[in-house]
Point group: C2
Chain length 629, copies 2
């Protein structure tokens, strides 16, 4: 009976979506959220074994209905928290499909977040400058106001022409100068004192790459340009929409959501900022400048700018040029009068993160054509040649983030990240070597390529029914990567026909984008000197897999360069160097943006690009290549 119960097929009463890890699956009747998470391999912490006493399994119900709070939960949460959906996963039973936010502190292992990338090569020339000051204390015969005393000392000693002190600095100046015995560092930006710090403090800067899914943060020493700490975090907006279009739609429907999404991003950055400071032994109030890059939608959501016009043709940003905004106007907790610099956007779907990537990869210095792309839900691609930049934006969709893929998930513990098929044997590697729970982007790409090379899938993407691991399940073919037996009774991890179609759409978007650029610039594929692949997903993929399925053009592998988080690197450059900011403006001014919707025959190109295999596209036709070509 017990054995029978254990092995009987699970009947899913409802589907639970665990964010930000991106794992979703069925939850049986009378199964708690914690039990469901365990079944799906989502590592939610639990110390007390589901008694509701350790409070380690806190989750937030974003949508869907669940059982009423238990007395334990009433003790654990405030009324406000309960109202916001906070619950203990072990005490809560879903009564409908649910979307949950599992905060980092409730996870047993952190998600893999890429922050590494190129290292900076510019000499520091930040927009802020720290001046050491020593003043005389005021007296009845010299009762000059505190701020005037500071400005006069500053201007006289250092031959400056400062005229302003930030209002928030004025609010603390009297107490601080007295407690520091009239000695301080004044941080000057243009003609304004934006911060005062104790005599021997650091002058720190914060660079942020605000991605749709992940946030990368870098704490820099502005004096020497060195990176003091780097850290990633999930973008908590994910719980309110996995891709930017769904977030924009929420904001269009309810303006309050715009306020919420802005707050979530800022809270996450503030937390990241505290963590970075703790790691490097600095203080958030020593951060006197910040640079934030992101795609245009993230840029707008972060600044709480209007997004409706971004989502409607002709897809116009509220603003493209570089901005400088007081950090406090955004809710960022750094130095009192510090500014946030935002690099310029290129278009509605090509943002400052792409500019930052072009800046970091120094593509402008080359003569021969370079293709630079950052693969994500939206993939921006530039072809740079002779200092001219042509850019497209492709809707590559969430497949590479694990979205719309049956066993897809983000790069977290237990995700299959590498995969080889050797006849009927499957070899795979999971993140942290944990038992497999799903498959993340790089694994999905490998799977597609291996299935194609093993002739399980034909060039049109159809799964053939001649491999022992192919089965027909719920009306479609699927390929079993890890069987129920291999998972000790848990459901098999498979790649379905539907998954393959999703991946074809994604890879066709990228390949056809490259093709449009080549045709617009009159280049042949072979002319491409280098293909620069930036971003987390781009770092982990096997390039040969990407070429094998025709996502990338069939060039020698040594022409590909995986550069990691180049957008973050560009943010760092812009943070420490005014010259880099000027360079970013120059890059933006040289960009010719092509709206794919307006390209003739784009659909035909897209259809060709959806085929698997190594091929060239010429005059709208596919030329298949042999392995040696």
């Amino acid at each position: 009976m017990t054995t029978k119960a254990k092995t009987k097929k699970r009947v899913s009463a409802c589907t639970i979506n665990f964010e930000p890890v991106g794992r979703r699956g069925g939850c049986q009747k009378n199964e708690s959220l914690l039990a469901c998470a365990r079944q799906l391999g989502v590592g939610i912490s639990s110390i007390c074994g589901g008694q509701g006493t350790c409070h380690a399994c806190k989750v937030q119900v974003i949508s869907g209905s669940v059982s009423k709070p238990t007395p334990n939960e009433y003790k654990t949460f405030t009324a406000q928290e309960l109202k916001e959906g906070w619950r203990l996963a072990c005490q809560t039973y879903p009564t409908s499909d649910c979307k949950l936010n599992v905060p980092a502190e409730s996870m047993t292992t952190p998600q893999r977040l890429q922050v590494e990338g190129l290292e900076a090569k510019v000499s520091p020339e930040p927009p802020t400058h720290a001046y050491h000051l020593k003043m005389k204390a005021p007296s009845l015969s010299a009762p000059q106001a505190d701020a005037d005393r500071l400005l006069n000392t500053l201007n006289q000693r250092h031959k400056l022409q400062c005229t302003r002190v930030d209002i928030d600095v004025l609010r603390i100046i009297s107490e601080r100068l007295r407690s520091w015995k009239w000695e301080c560092q004044a941080i000057v930006r243009n003609d304004e004192v934006i911060a005062i710090l104790p005599p021997k403090s650091h002058q720190l800067g914060l660079a942020i790459d605000l991605g749709t899914t992940k946030i990368a943060g870098y704490l820099m020493n502005l004096n020497n340009g060195r990176t003091l700490a780097a850290k990633g975090a999930m973008n908590p907006q994910i719980s309110y929409g996995e891709d930017i279009v769904s977030r924009i739609n929420r904001v269009i429907k309810s303006p309050d959501e715009g306020v919420l999404l802005q707050k979530l991003a800022v809270q996450a950055i503030n937390e990241l900022c505290s963590d970075l400071c703790a790691e490097a032994g600095g203080k958030p109030e020593e951060i006197v400048e910040a640079v934030v890059v992101g795609n245009t939608a993230m840029h707008h959501l972060f600044l709480h700018l209007p997004v409706k016009q971004l989502a409607l043709s002709p897809f116009v940003p509220a603003v493209s040029r570089a901005l400088e905004v007081k950090a406090r106007d955004l809710g960022l907790s750094i130095a009192h009068g510090a500014y946030v610099h935002l690099l310029p956007n290129i278009a509605g779907f090509v943002g400052a993160d792409h500019v930052a990537m072009l800046l970091a990869t120094e593509v402008m210095q080359t003569e021969r054509p370079i293709v630079a792309l950052d693969i994500g839900t939206n993939t921006e691609i530039s072809l740079v040649s002779n200092g001219e930049v042509t850019t497209v934006s492709c809707a590559s969709g969430p497949a590479f983030e694990g979205g719309h893929i049956k066993y897809g998930m983000r790069a977290a513990t237990g995700a299959i990240e590498r995969l080889r098929i050797d006849d009927d044997k499957i070899q795979y590697q999971t993140i942290d070597g944990a038992p497999p729970v799903g498959i993340c982007g790089s694994g999905i790409l490998d799977a597609l390529s291996q299935l194609y090379l093993a002739k399980v899938i034909d060039e049109s993407g159809r799964i053939m029914n001649r491999h022992p691991r192919v089965r027909n399940y719920q009306g479609q073919h699927e390929f079993i990567l890890v069987s129920r037996e291999e998972r000790k009774g848990k459901p098999a991890i498979t790649i379905t026909q539907h998954d393959v179609r999703e991946l074809q759409l994604a890879k066709a978007a990228i390949r056809s984008g490259i093709q449009v650029l080549l045709e617009a610039c009159g280049c042949a594929e072979d002319d491409i000197k280098q293909v620069i692949i930036a971003g987390a997903f781009g770092t982990y993929i096997d390039i040969s897999s990407a070429v094998a399925i025709g996502m990338l053009p069939p060039l020698p592998l040594n022409r590909f360069r995986q550069v990691g988080n180049a957008a973050g690197m560009g943010a760092k450059l812009a943070l420490i160097s005014r010259a880099s900011r000027a360079e970013a403006r120059v890059i933006t001014s040289k960009v010719k943006y092509i709206e794919l919707a307006s390209v003739p025959n784009f659909q035909a190109t897209f259809v060709q690009a959806s085929y698997l295999g190594r091929y060239r596209i010429k005059d709208g036709r596919r030329e298949k290549l042999n392995h040696g070509d």
Copy 2:
């Protein structure tokens, strides 16, 4: 029995202080706050006759304890309002001494608030400029961002070099430009677009004189410099301290009070602003620039700057120079990116309101000496001669605002404002001709002068016991201005020996301040070409009374000039003219401030100045003058 009860002496159980009208007095046992107000002549509205049903008598208990709320009050107020001390005066019985805030809407008649003054004579040259713009709508072939489109059009059409759009303007730009069909007015300030308005809107400005007691507001048309509306309001901070020192002390004790006081001032200005707009047919979002003047403490409280160092020797402001702050950083609800300009302060106790007064009265254009003073709780006095300004600040105290005077009150309905003594007959005039309930500043000054001229008081300030209206009451002499019979059974209104001493201190402060200035500049009294008296109190006083008691020097009356609210006028000038702002900076730079505490022999001068009568002070000695001198 009934008659006996009516005429029996009132036994005051506790003292109630009604603010902002400034009337205080005893409350009998079992007497409601409304009944007490009526006894004291404070005009609180009541329609239902004390049944608790009309809700016209709302008051706020600031300190002290009162009876528990009645069911009627639970129905009238929210829990939060009750927590904040809001009550119905007719339902509430004090159980200790109390301080109440009676809001304007609960008063039967408004308080007299002076807003009139000199009229502007400068040609408008405001710091903002409105440009009319017509743009093309974006398209797929011209998908330029909204803000970039606006800036480019602006810079090309009007040959400008604008580089910035305020972040709050960016937040509305997309929706507004579309709803206005790509036509708008852009309000430009330096290189920044601070507002966008519909094609045919006004460009308005707001000038505020933020007094310790009263706030005067002016709505101006920035294009032609005309005053569209003027209005006064009480400063709601009064309920939290009548004078600046007590407010500063509250903030020093509890920083939260600083937040509260700032909010109160801003709320009052926002309400004033709405009223002014309603009167003139404008909208707060059309107000694209504001100027605020006030004394240094009010300036600091309004900006939420530190005040502790203001209260301690050497009495140093946090900042003196002129400031420009985004209105939103202060909570002011005007145009999205509008700035508030704050004129410079001179010293800890000589603020921007004094600079504004010097600006408005054009004293810098004269060669012969001019004395300019603004009488208040603190009286700032400048002696201007040959373009040099010497300034002192005198602690004249609250006596002229009715403070520390037994029957003193502010200038509201029923206050005695003029008074003549003709033997044993008293003639007086009350505000609005209402039955007398107390005596306000100008009446107090008249009373002192008349009592001195009638020889009821000698030159040392002693009340002599030979006038029929002098009585000994509770251990001191007092002079009966209005008897119990004349008040139909209500307590007599009197001037006590203690009142006279308070007035002597107040008037000595002013006279000795003038004396210090004359000595510092080597001037004789007769050299003074003009004495300019600004401010509400100064407008209503009888100059001859002020001269008779020796508060002002014995000059011919035609050398005195009462200019009304000159500080408000100065604020208006600074609002509409950049040249006036520059002039204010020049004035401030020319001021030599003398700290009275550091003047040798100041005490001796002060003692001489406390005597009543017409006299000159020379070498620390008083020279009495005959009436003809």
